[in-house]
Symmetry: D2
Subunit: 369 residues, 4 copies
């Protein structure tokens, strides 16, 4: 079987998760090509060497440009901090490599747009790592909305709560530097905005507020929002809300998405990711309530690749399904979601950031203009 060479830029948690995805993809999906982890790069030689061994990658380097240049690397997989994504994507595209880039595509819209355009100009398959789409329950939610199960969408709400920034004693690192780590709107919000655009459609305008409660860490100013909330109007007329917060005690990574339509409601709660809640307005009144769909039935997206119903999958599954989706369409693509979607999401993020900064409603078109 033909091998597809993968080069991973960045050896942190995301690099590990992506390597995991490629390793398992052929075990859950029948594929025509075999992924081969050729190289991984990072700045700390010891750490990247250890990671190569641990993640099952053939070779390592401290020079990402060398990795990109390798003839045996077909796909460049970008897992570095957000602010560095665009440059790497552009280099990879210029080298004619397919690209998978972790989210958010960049720390600002202009960079994101340039990155997306570079891939499009190069004509290479390209994808953005909105991995939560690749779980059965959110994918089923999207499918059901598309099929009309809840009628026309009226309301969208999405909340992401974590406690990662709660402790004021956490020392400064790149996550607190917006240029490198991106805003919380972009870092956490990108996933939820992607789901919203995918499921509901384009967002026209936004209002927002942002707050940073711990403004200095290790003597340095923090310019990343710790908590933001946004109001949105979708182009189709639906209304929505987003909240992103990293200062919520005992909320490890709790995100929730709910869509209310003219005929029903769908709700996904990430802490119980094998479930999808569905309520139908037209149901028999005696059955009034919502169903807890066990989103593991063979008829559900991705589920047949995995285990019998009732067993449950976890976070890692999203990366395996993501890798399988890409490899299944190798080498022609197109991949989905692509970097252009990454840029569209970034435009909404930037509109939200401006809305919070300027204390006014901001049209997304104002950002993309």
């Amino acid at each position: 079987m033909d091998e597809v060479g993968i080069g991973i830029v960045g050896y942190g948690m995301m690099g590990r998760a992506h390597a995991y995805g490629y390793t398992l993809a052929p075990r859950v999906r029948e594929l025509a090509v075999a992924p081969r982890l050729r190289a991984i790069s990072g700045r700390d030689a010891d750490a990247v060497a250890r990671a190569a061994g641990r993640y099952g990658v053939d070779e390592w380097t401290t020079d990402w440009r060398a990795l990109v240049a390798r003839p045996d690397v077909d796909i460049v997989d970008v897992c570095t901090p957000p602010g560095t994504h665009a440059e790497i994507v552009e280099a990879a595209a210029a080298a004619g490599k397919a690209v998978l880039c972790e989210k958010p595509l960049a720390a600002d819209y202009a960079s994101a747009q340039r990155a997306a355009e570079s891939a499009q100009a190069a004509g290479v398959p390209n994808a953005i790592g909105f991995n939560y789409r690749k779980l059965p329950a959110p994918a089923l939610l999207a499918q059901m909305v598309a099929e009309g199960a809840i009628g026309d969408v009226l309301l969208w709400r999405a909340v992401w709560l974590s406690d990662e920034f709660l402790d004021a004693q956490i020392p400064f690192d790149w996550r607190f530097d917006r240029r490198l780590g991106a805003s919380t709107i972009a870092d956490l919000g990108a996933h939820l905005i992607d789901l919203a655009l995918w499921i509901v459609g384009e967002i026209d305008e936004v209002a927002a507020q942002s707050e940073t409660f711990t403004r200095r860490r290790s003597g340095r100013a923090v310019d990343v929002d710790e908590a933001s909330a946004c109001l949105v109007r979708f182009a189709g007329g639906a209304r929505g809300t987003f909240e992103l917060a990293r200062v919520c005690a005992r909320r490890p990574c709790d995100f929730f998405v709910e869509v209310n339509g003219t005929r029903g409601t769908l709700r996904f709660e990430y802490p119980r990711l094998n479930e999808l809640w569905f309520g139908e307005a037209g149901d028999d009144g005696r059955l009034y309530g919502m169903r807890r769909i066990r989103a593991e039935h063979p008829a559900h997206p991705y589920a047949a690749d995995w285990w019998p119903i009732g067993q449950g999958v976890g976070y890692g599954t999203s990366f395996v399904n993501q890798a399988a989706d890409l490899l299944e369409r190798w080498p022609d693509g197109p991949w989905e979601p692509d970097l252009a979607q990454g840029a569209r999401v970034q435009a909404v993020c930037e509109a939200m950031e401006r809305a919070a900064a300027d204390r006014r409603w901001v049209r997304v078109a104002e950002v993309t203009a």
Copy 2:
């Protein structure tokens, strides 16, 4: 035992709930006075007569001014549509009667403020019907925040979802007439804003959006928002969000309140109203997670008046506890929350309404000025 005469203006669901409250109050709390339901009023003679019998009220009338004038009525309890509250409150206060008024205090701030001032000027005990405060779990939440269980409050979020307006075929009635039924921000939001002011403190400014999806019913224009969402900044620095929506399929009356502080998280979910979720940031990591407090322990507010732990109370309990709290402080008061609180809440509502209409941040002080 001395009797306190009650006169209820309005015989709808709220009139029934308040009558229920007075009937049971002496059965759950040892009181020095006995409530006596002297009279109830309403415009439809047949209906109000039936209600009097059903609710256990001695007499009925179609003239609320006659009810207010009765010498044997000590407390006027206002359960009519929001837009009519202020006039009745003012008349009752002028007649030297104590007043309990259902929420929201009015359909606009000016009326609310006049009503609150009239009661204050008359020196009569006065209260606003924020009954959810009177349930054990929300009261415990407020108590724990006040005691510092979660440290300084950083974030507040409150959502109220119902499906009462979802069906576009529901004919026009007073709930769709803002002058009479008040906005959804005021009608549903008032409860949540009251909780926010009580638990977190004053709100400084707000942004908001509102939408009405079904703009005409029975050929008449609907000027009430079906769904609104708001961003707020508290005077103390915390940030918050509110969402109020009446078009959410299979969401009968689902409201949720969560507060995140520097040391912990508290969350109340009304559909499971005998529970309170509590997470402590400083907990042993091996116990990481939130507790599902069974808010029925004798040590919890109101709980000792009711049943052994594990049995559970319901909605009706809130009205009984409310009535018991008022009767316990008869005749001197003060009652809590009072009409001034009703007016404070109304100011926030009006700021939200303006913010939605004008598409800008609005300071609450701009309303109250």
Copy 3:
């Protein structure tokens, strides 16, 4: 309106709950007669006097026989410890009074049967206090099974967990004396056995085990089981299990009932008593899972008497509905469930007790023979 005189024997928690039920019944149900709490009895004069005032009862006495003899008492409501029930029921029936007796009907089958027969012989309306039947969700469960919603019943499981006996330092009181307080199988199990007989049908035979972990309290031997578990075969072929335990930390009064049939599953969890879970075997596979029915819809049993959907009722509601059901059929009856059902339940309890003591399968017919 005609008054029905009630006399309550016993002023403890159950006396309070029953008084509460009569007080509210006319407020939630349109009744042709008015309940009047004429008298309450108890051995401690001070305590019963206080209770009379608190519960809204006209008069009190320390002599239950005097209460039974009062011409103005039409219904004798027995709320004393289990071991004393039968004698009071028999005296009341002999006096021609209608009887409502708390569960279990007795501490042994022979007494229960005598009590039931005395009422039948006297031809008086009679009822046993299986109040949980009177909540919307369990009543809906029974209704749905009867209508065939889950097909033929295959399996039944019922578990009741509390922590009331966990602390080995709790001093001896009548609950630890089986002759007076009845076994845990009878005291907690009676409710669940009643539901089983009502919903599934007769029980043919049983096996069981019982344990008492703290065998002495205050220097006295405890002969009441703290934890029991039972296997049963229903006459119709279904199989079932019961577990009753009072030594489960942080389980205040958590009971659960699940029925699996050829076409579906129904599950009730008392800690969330406004919900009923329903799964249909024949459902669309893409909706695989169970519905969380909000058992408060006007179409549900009892629900229309109460509040709008989403508000929730509590434990007290069961006593109000129970009282309303009795008063609605005054004076002719029949009442449901009646004392004969109380005796049938007691027979199953006694079969379980024997099965545990003798370590063998016991036919219920062996007890009733």
Copy 4:
């Protein structure tokens, strides 16, 4: 790095899950040896060939004895139907191979015991596939009980509900043949009995009932129980219950384990496998209730190998952790749980089977004697 050769006997779902485990083990745990999937066997050449490709196994064969004989196979991993396990285990042990055998170890105790003894006699590392032990939450539960978090264990309850046999039209296959597929007590119950022995200790005696509702399929008699329930007495004095049922509509694979001790309660619900519920009897009364521990904290068993807290793992994780535990102790062992534990569990299963058949309490010692 040294390679350890794995040979998998059986290519069905379990073969796939085990292959998955070996593939990922080196990606989550730092190991001194590298697993290599050398061979897989099965009777259907086409199917096993396809499986080899899909599972990432080097070679395949239709002759399991040939697989066992391969010098490059160090570990024989037995994933065939239960009734065939013992023979394969014995052959592997005789060949000096380490053995991992899926549960249950056999369809009867005598075979299980012979298999366990063969491995012990051969002195080879040996393990039984009780994979649920290898998930963070159940492992944490065991750890907490061992540490005394709930004091002395009083009660154990374990329930396993599935719907796999509900449909009477499912044609006969080996699962309905007890000699081959083992009883439901053994097939599902083995996991729960293993947890009980591990967490609570030895079981002394049992009572049970079993039922088969669909007694013929495809014209053949079914001798496998579809639903069984058991009462047990532990050697240490605790009491317990087990229920295993395969005819529960919309219960895909829902198992639950709860332990109540003198100082607390622990509960695990497999459908939400990243959570563990913990209640402490000695807690502050105002916090009365149970904690929902997010069993993904780095301090929890296995959790640090996986993802950041809040992300969640699934069923597959158990096989990865199982493989990592074995490889970590290669080549010396001992492995845990071992085949002797498999035989101990089988003894309890057989005691339960006899108790159901003979309708009497059966001592486990009667089986092992």
